[in-house]
């Protein structure tokens, strides 16, 4: 956290082969004016992939996938931010995927949540994510790219661990009722593990006065 000098808050995450930088600017004035929310902050998010982050070079213009993920990331973060504390302002959350692997959106949310904390934004809880899937009929957490393609499902989940609330849920694949529950519960459990690590990173940052840190999380 705190790696980027200009941002009000930032966090870098290294998760599987994912390398993601998140930064927060704000609270700041809203432009254009007509987007001002009188009773709370406007949270802006962009999830964006570097052209070199994937196997085939990606066009730098935002794809439909990136636009959708930017939206669900916003909806996953807003519940944790006490937006009512910052009426008439904008809080910008930029998630840049420098290298992409399976689960980049949940890794991005996790980084963004740390960056919000680093920026000193008031929060009800952190938001942590984990992605589960099915490989060879087995429910598995934290799929990497190859597993993602070979497996028959991808279920990114983001939670507020202390409040036991789900803030993001997307499902791709084919799950029996029983497998769905297994995967979903595993994702939540893994998310809580991630939270332990996040909390540590935060404590280092705030209590040990460490200026810049890096969250390194190995895939399960």
């Amino acid at each position: 956290m705190g790696l980027l000098k200009n941002a009000d808050g930032s966090a870098y995450i290294n998760w599987g082969k994912n390398k993601i930088m998140a930064a927060v600017y704000g609270p700041k004035e809203v432009h254009p004016k007509h987007q001002v929310l009188p009773d709370r902050a406007l949270l802006r998010t962009r999830y964006h992939m570097a052209p070199f982050s994937v196997d085939e070079r990606k066009n730098p213009a935002p794809s439909r996938r990136e636009i959708e993920i930017s939206k669900v990331i916003r909806e996953a973060l807003v519940p944790a931010v006490t937006v009512e504390d910052y009426p008439r302002t904008a809080i910008e959350v930029w998630v840049e995927v420098l290298q992409s692997d399976g689960g980049s959106r949940v890794a991005g949310i996790t980084a963004a949540s740390l960056a919000l904390a680093d920026a000193g934004i008031n929060m009800r809880d952190l938001v942590v994510g984990c992605s589960c899937g099915i490989i060879d009929s087995q429910v598995v957490a934290d799929l990497d790219d190859t597993e993602d393609k070979e497996g028959s499902g991808d279920m990114p989940v983001a939670i507020m661990p202390n409040l036991n609330q789900v803030t993001l849920l997307q499902v791709d694949g084919m799950y029996s009722r029983a497998d769905f529950q297994k995967a979903f519960e595993l994702a939540i459990a893994k998310g809580k593990e991630v939270y332990g690590m996040q909390r540590e990173a935060l404590m280092k940052r705030f209590f040990e006065g460490q200026e810049a840190g890096m969250v390194e999380e190995e895939s399960a």
């Binding site: 959708e68 789900v166 803030t167 997307q170 084919m174 799950y175 979903f184 519960e185």
Partner: protein
């Protein structure tokens, strides 16, 4: 659609709804797991390869299928392409505007696309004409005609119904060349995925929210299941949360409610 809501009115209406729902009642007297009347009419656009107009209450959606030929993606040389695209027409709502698809329209198209894709409704390998060279490309374009809540399900039913009734030109490969045949064949459809969307208002999940309920809802969840009751896609929406228990409840509701809707879609697309 970026509804510019009137906050005061919204707050009052929501309080009323929460109160009613606590007694198990909805503003339009539906039970929590009851969807609005659903009508499905297919074959409405003769120039399309398949089409369906769906009304779900006052929400109205028109889907049209066009089948063309093209090159496959390099990493799936033996599979045809399926593209779902949605436009919320400016005539559908006072909040819709002309222009490139909004964030909402993109999410809508992608969620419906995933339900169709992940259920393996269309057998993409049967859309291959010459491996690595020529495949069918199936475009499903969705026109939202009138917005009154739950675009996800209305769009899903329209897309699935249009695909189930779509016919495409037959091609043969003769001396390594693609030759058009005179007859048409159905788009190779295997399953009937059904999406069921629920809104959480206060502590209650209600199926098929109307615009009025959407204005008061905290969270939206869409779950798509296939003929065997498997979950093949889901999407949580809106800037609020859902408890793990509610997620599992939503899955059960989707399987149960989806069954009856699937029967209606199959009947309408025979």
């Amino acid at each position: 659609m970026s509804m510019k809501k009137n906050y005061v009115v919204e707050t009052i209406r929501k309080a009323q709804m929460v109160e009613l729902l606590a007694k198990g009642r909805r503003v339009d007297e539906r039970s929590p797991d009851e969807h609005r009347p659903l009508t499905i009419q297919t074959g409405v656009i003769q120039k399309a390869n398949g089409s369906a107009i769906v009304t779900l209450g006052n929400t109205e959606v028109l889907a049209g299928v066009k089948v063309a030929t093209g090159a496959p993606f390099p990493d799936t040389p033996d599979k045809g392409l399926l593209v779902v695209n949605a436009e919320i027409l400016p005539l559908a709502s006072p909040y819709a505007e002309p222009g490139p698809p909004s964030e909402e329209a993109i999410e809508l198209a992608r969620v419906v696309d995933r339900g169709v894709r992940e259920s393996e409704m269309v057998d993409l390998t049967k859309l291959c004409i010459i491996e690595g060279k020529t495949v069918y490309t199936v475009f499903v374009d969705v026109n939202i005609m009138n917005v009154d809540g739950n675009l996800f399900d209305a769009t899903s039913y329209a897309v699935v119904s249009a695909l189930r009734t779509a016919k495409m030109k037959k091609y043969a490969v003769e001396n390594d060349k693609v030759v058009v045949k005179d007859d048409v064949v159905p788009v190779p459809v295997e399953k009937t995925p059904v999406s069921v969307t629920m809104a959480r208002i206060g502590d209650v999940l209600v199926v098929d929210p109307s615009s009025e309920e959407e204005a008061a809802m905290d969270m939206r969840i869409t779950i798509t299941t296939d003929d065997d009751g498997n979950v093949c896609a889901s999407q949580k929406g809106e800037a609020s949360t859902i408890t793990p228990a509610h997620v599992l409840e939503a899955v059960d509701t989707s399987i149960r409610v989806g069954k009856a809707i699937r029967a209606q879609i199959i009947e309408a697309t025979k």
